[in-house]
């Protein structure tokens, strides 16, 4: 506007949509009140008047945008409410704002989150139904031809859904910083989870000990995240900006701060951020969100502190530092040994992966077998069979970077499976090259 308000160094878009009329249940962490205090802080700061910070309303994602990513049982229409479409649409709006050059950076502060939603979706998992980053990624690829993307997931919980969706994609580098899975939901994200057969070393997990603070996060950022981003050379860097690493979060055990989040964001320098978790709704979120916004916009973050912030409280022990150093070393070795085809894990024409997936919100399990089909020219298509909650799903997925032979092979396999299908079974062809979602 003028010199009477601060001027953003980088034009930054905000999709601030707190969905004050939506909750999972009234006393659930994912309730109406969650972003109330964040909205109040952002508005009181006058960010709407800061030159170079633009506010956008979310749009509604189309079911086709969801179906490009997920295989939903019984269907995306049956599982997703308007609120989910708005949350995903908020992420899509952020991507559009950047790609259409309305802004240089964008941050979707939306809810519900998405990073626990896997490729197959039978219900709500860890507060997530649709993986909003993944929806955004495939949208970017479909509509803007973006190929290489890095996602840095800084939520305190392992981004198991995002990992699952892009596990076999060598054009997507997924780095997750999280509290060690032995001590926190969802209990995964160990360093040996390093990618599917076509993308070994493109999933990098950094499980951090409970109590990790600014020092530990700085160490993994400087030693692992930044060098890997440099080496991978993505066209876009996305940040799943969960804020439950905060020292006041009620669901986790970490020691991170608003100052730390601001510095982390400055270092990673993401093109697009999407809010994930973060449930210290009064003591953390107003400050961590503000810190991230100001960092993205290139504004001074020095004054963004929790009212009770005292740096002395967050000194890490030498033991913990040593532990984190070891994790960094492992991660660097995994990435250094990355390769696009690891035939040692394959038997014959495919590699097989079995998973049991627990849906915590309503409490049921899904058993899943995934077949990664080998191809010398592309990551290959995948076949997945998953059953649970009375649903039987049989899907064939052609990734966006598949070759035409794999595309045809998946179509043939789908046709055969559709002919042979049982009465309860739903057979799906998800072809991201042709942008087709067909069911039988």
């Amino acid at each position: 506007m003028t010199r009477y308000m601060p001027q953003a160094v980088r034009k930054t878009g905000l999709i601030l949509f707190p969905a004050f009329d939506w909750c999972i249940t009234p006393d659930h962490p994912e309730r109406e009140e969650r972003l109330l205090y964040t909205r109040d802080q952002i508005v009181e700061e006058g960010l709407e008047d800061v030159d170079g910070i633009e506010f956008f309303n979310p749009e509604l994602a189309a079911y086709a945008d969801i179906d490009r990513v997920h295989l939903c049982a019984p269907s995306s229409k049956a599982l997703l409410t308007e609120s989910h479409l708005i949350s995903a649409g908020g992420a899509v709006r952020a991507a559009k704002a950047v790609m259409e050059k309305e802004v240089e950076r964008a941050f979707a502060i939306v809810r519900p989150p998405g990073h626990h939603a896997m490729q197959t979706v039978f219900g709500d998992r860890g507060f997530c139904v649709a993986n909003i980053e993944a929806v955004m990624v495939e949208y970017l690829r479909r509509h803007y031809g973006v190929r290489r993307i890095a996602i840095v997931d800084t939520d305190c919980h392992h981004g198991d859904g995002t990992q699952d969706i892009f596990y076999n994609d060598p054009d997507l580098l997924f780095i997750s910083l999280h509290q060690d899975g032995r001590t926190l939901y969802p209990g995964t994200g160990f360093q040996n989870e390093a990618g599917g057969p076509a993308a070994q070393g493109y999933t990098i997990n950094l499980p951090l000990p409970p109590g990790t603070g600014e020092e530990g996060f700085s160490m993994v950022t400087d030693r692992v995240v930044l060098p890997l981003l440099d080496a991978f050379k993505p066209e876009l860097v996305l940040n799943s900006a969960g804020q439950d690493n905060h020292y006041s979060d009620p669901l986790t055990n970490m020691n991170f701060t608003a100052q730390g989040y601001a510095r982390l964001n400055k270092a990673i320098n993401p093109d697009i951020c999407v809010l994930e978790g973060g449930y210290s709704i009064e003591g953390a979120l107003p400050y961590t969100n503000l810190g991230i916004i100001l960092a993205m916009a290139g504004l001074d973050t020095g004054n963004v502190r929790e009212p009770d912030y005292d740096p002395q409280r967050f000194v890490q022990s030498a033991l913990m530092n040593g532990q984190i150093e070891g994790i960094c070393q492992n991660a660097l070795e995994i990435f250094a040994a990355r390769k696009k085809w690891d035939t040692s894990v394959c038997r014959g024409e495919e590699a097989v992966e079995r998973k049991s997936i627990y849906y915590d919100t309503t409490g049921f399990g899904v058993d899943q077998v995934r077949h990664y089909k080998l191809c010398p020219d592309c990551p290959g298509y995948t076949e997945v069979e998953a059953s649970g909650a009375g649903e039987l799903l049989h899907g064939f997925t052609v990734p966006f970077n598949a070759c035409s032979r794999c595309q045809q092979a998946a179509r043939d396999a789908f046709t055969r499976a559709a002919k042979a299908k049982g009465s309860r079974e739903q057979v799906v062809l998800q072809d991201r090259v042709a942008d087709i979602y067909e069911t039988a």
């Binding site: 506007m1 003028t2 010199r3 009477y4 308000m5 601060p6 601030l16 949509f17 707190p18 969905a19 004050f20 009329d21 939506w22 009234p26 006393d27 309730r31 109406e32 009140e33 109330l36 205090y37 909205r39 109040d40 802080q41 508005v43 009181e44 700061e45 006058g46 960010l47 709407e48 008047d49 800061v50 506010f55 956008f56 309303n57 979310p58 308007e82 609120s83 708005i86 009620p250 009064e282 107003p286 400050y287 503000l290 100001l294 504004l299 001074d300 020095g302 004054n303 963004v304 502190r305 929790e306 009212p307």
Partner: protein
């Protein structure tokens, strides 16, 4: 009921005398910006003659405060500001005497830490030594908890004037609160002098009717009350023209009001017959404020705008060309939309000179055709500006799923145009918008009529947190304890009472226009895993509208 409306513009001051809706008399005199009260008194004298005693009320729209800000003629203000965590507040630019105080209030209005006493005392001593008369005090989140501002105001009570941020608006937005407070405190002396001069002049003329001034929000406020909140009278001109258009052509649909002048066109929007408001307030001299205002835009398109011809077509404005060829003598240096209107015989003027101006603009085109093209471009450019405004209104942030799904874009059904060139542009405007365009009778005094016909407006906001047990209505400085059972119905009652309190404070007698409640927010609060209470936010307002006559 006999009402006088006065509108002081940039060049002329217009006055009207109305009996009910009927126009009894109108008058116009040139403006002397150094003596606005004198201009107003002279205009009243010219308008009323011997019948001054019969007038029932007088409404003034004056440029006094706007000019004082634009010309930097405000009082030096001693500012005490507590920012707390957040944006680095160093950008705040309000004079030499701005002191930042440590301490904080949080987003729920919780007092984290009071400002340090020694720093406050030293600052006030310094302000006093410098001879400052006006003090402004502002904290972040004072709309949720005014206690720190109130305490600072008590400490500054020995100064002739103190403005507290929370009294001016219950809206959030700390930088705007700071600028609003600074502007209000800085206008104190000038406005007081103006008010005294008006009172004296009116007395001399024998006018005994109550005096009100027009606000930017399309409402009025009694002159005595305005002495405490002079900032409210800033930028009342566009609100006079919007309300004037409503008075001349009342209707209940979506429509657009255009006040086309020599240099600029002011645009106002109506939804279902009610003027749209700015979400926060006016921006003046680049400073965003919380001064409630109608949603208006001023674009650099007017009868005297400079017209240029480029490879892309005609470019009109935003610069003013000066007096159009059709109305001046001497060398013709350029063309204006007014020249085009004269060439097409839609306006009186020297047609020969106007034709020559258009010929110079585009030598190989018949001047009549150039004239038509220029005016079509004018209409088209206005349409673009209106479209952009409509889009901005549609794009305002919403925070609930239902609000997002229910959003509707304003769909104007008619254009109302006032101002000098309005009649001459009617066809082009109708064509550009593909809508009927009306130019009402008496449009040349629309602003004065708007000033005359406007009724008072009031607003107040409430924030209650029954989990913390606190209630705050900043506009009346209220901050008190409430019980767990406080609900939306209680909130409505407390706010209605606050509006009545504000009305009494403003000296408004008789029945108030209906109070409406807007922007309801109600959310359960959960701590740990159990419900602890509710957060309730609510606003009440008396909308701008026409007074019953």
């Amino acid at each position: 009921m006999k009402t006088v409306g006065i509108d002081v513009g940039g060049t002329n001051a217009d006055g009207v005398l109305l009996e009910g809706e009927r126009l009894l008399a109108k008058a116009k005199i040139p403006v002397d910006h150094d003596n606005l009260s004198g201009v107003i008194i002279a205009l009243l004298e010219k308008l009323l003659g011997d019948s001054a005693g019969e007038v029932d009320q007088v409404h003034l729209s004056s440029t006094l405060c706007t000019n004082a800000i634009v010309n930097g003629e405000m009082d030096e203000v001693g500012m005490l500001v507590q920012a707390g965590p957040g944006l680095n507040p160093e950008f705040l630019d309000c004079g030499e005497n701005l002191v930042f105080l440590d301490g904080a209030i949080d987003h729920r209005g919780g007092l984290i830490q009071s400002p340090p006493v020694a720093v406050v005392d030293a600052a006030l001593a310094d302000f006093s030594a410098k001879g400052l008369q006006s003090i402004g005090v502002v904290t972040k989140f004072s709309h949720r908890n005014p206690q720190v501002e109130q305490e600072l105001a008590r400490k500054a009570a020995s100064f002739p004037h103190v403005t507290c941020g929370h009294n001016l608006s219950g809206l959030p937005n700390f930088p705007r609160r700071v600028y609003t407070t600074w502007i209000n405190a800085g206008l104190k002396t000038r406005f007081q002098q103006f008010s005294e001069a008006i009172h004296a002049g009116v007395k001399r003329l024998g006018i005994t009717a109550p005096l009100s001034v027009l606000k930017a929000d399309g409402g009025t406020i009694p002159l005595e009350r305005a002495e405490a909140v002079p900032c409210e009278s800033v930028l009342s001109g566009p609100s006079a023209s919007v309300m004037g258009a409503l008075a001349l052509t009342p209707r209940e649909k979506d429509f657009v009001v255009l006040d086309i002048g020599g240099t600029t066109t002011d645009i106002g929007l109506f939804a279902d017959g009610v003027p749209l408001m700015e979400p926060y307030g006016v921006t003046i001299m680049g400073r965003p404020t919380l001064i409630r205002a109608l949603n208006t835009r001023s674009v650099g398109l007017g009868g005297d705008s400079e017209v240029k011809r480029t490879a892309d077509g005609y470019v009109i404005g935003p610069q003013r060309h000066g007096v159009p060829a059709a109305f001046s003598e001497g060398k013709i240096t350029g063309a204006t939309p007014s020249d085009a209107m004269v060439v097409l015989n839609r306006m009186e003027g020297n047609r020969e000179r106007a034709t020559e101006a258009l010929h110079l603009l585009l030598p190989n085109n018949p001047p009549e055709e150039t004239a038509r093209e220029v005016l079509l471009t004018f209409g088209h450019n206005i349409k673009l500006a209106v479209d952009q405004m409509v889009e901005e209104v549609f794009a305002r942030p919403v925070y609930t799923v239902s609000a997002l799904l229910d959003r509707q874009r304003l769909e104007p059904a008619e254009i109302i145009a006032v101002g000098g060139p309005a009649e001459a542009l009617r066809g082009e405007l109708a064509a550009a918008f593909d809508l009927p365009c009306e130019v009402p009778l008496n449009y040349e005094v629309a602003n004065a009529i708007g000033a005359a016909r406007t009724r008072p407006t009031l607003s107040a906001s409430l924030y209650a947190n029954s989990s913390d047990g606190t209630l705050s209505i900043p506009e009346i400085g209220l901050h008190e304890k409430i019980g767990r059972s406080f609900d939306m119905k209680d909130a409505e009652e407390r706010l209605a009472a606050a509006i009545r309190h504000l009305a009494a404070q403003a000296g408004l007698e008789g029945e108030l226009p209906p109070v409406e409640f807007v922007e309801r927010e109600e959310m359960n609060t959960v701590r740990g895993f159990s419900a602890t209470g509710k957060v309730i936010a609510l606003k009440a307002q008396v909308q701008p509208g026409l007074a019953n006559v």
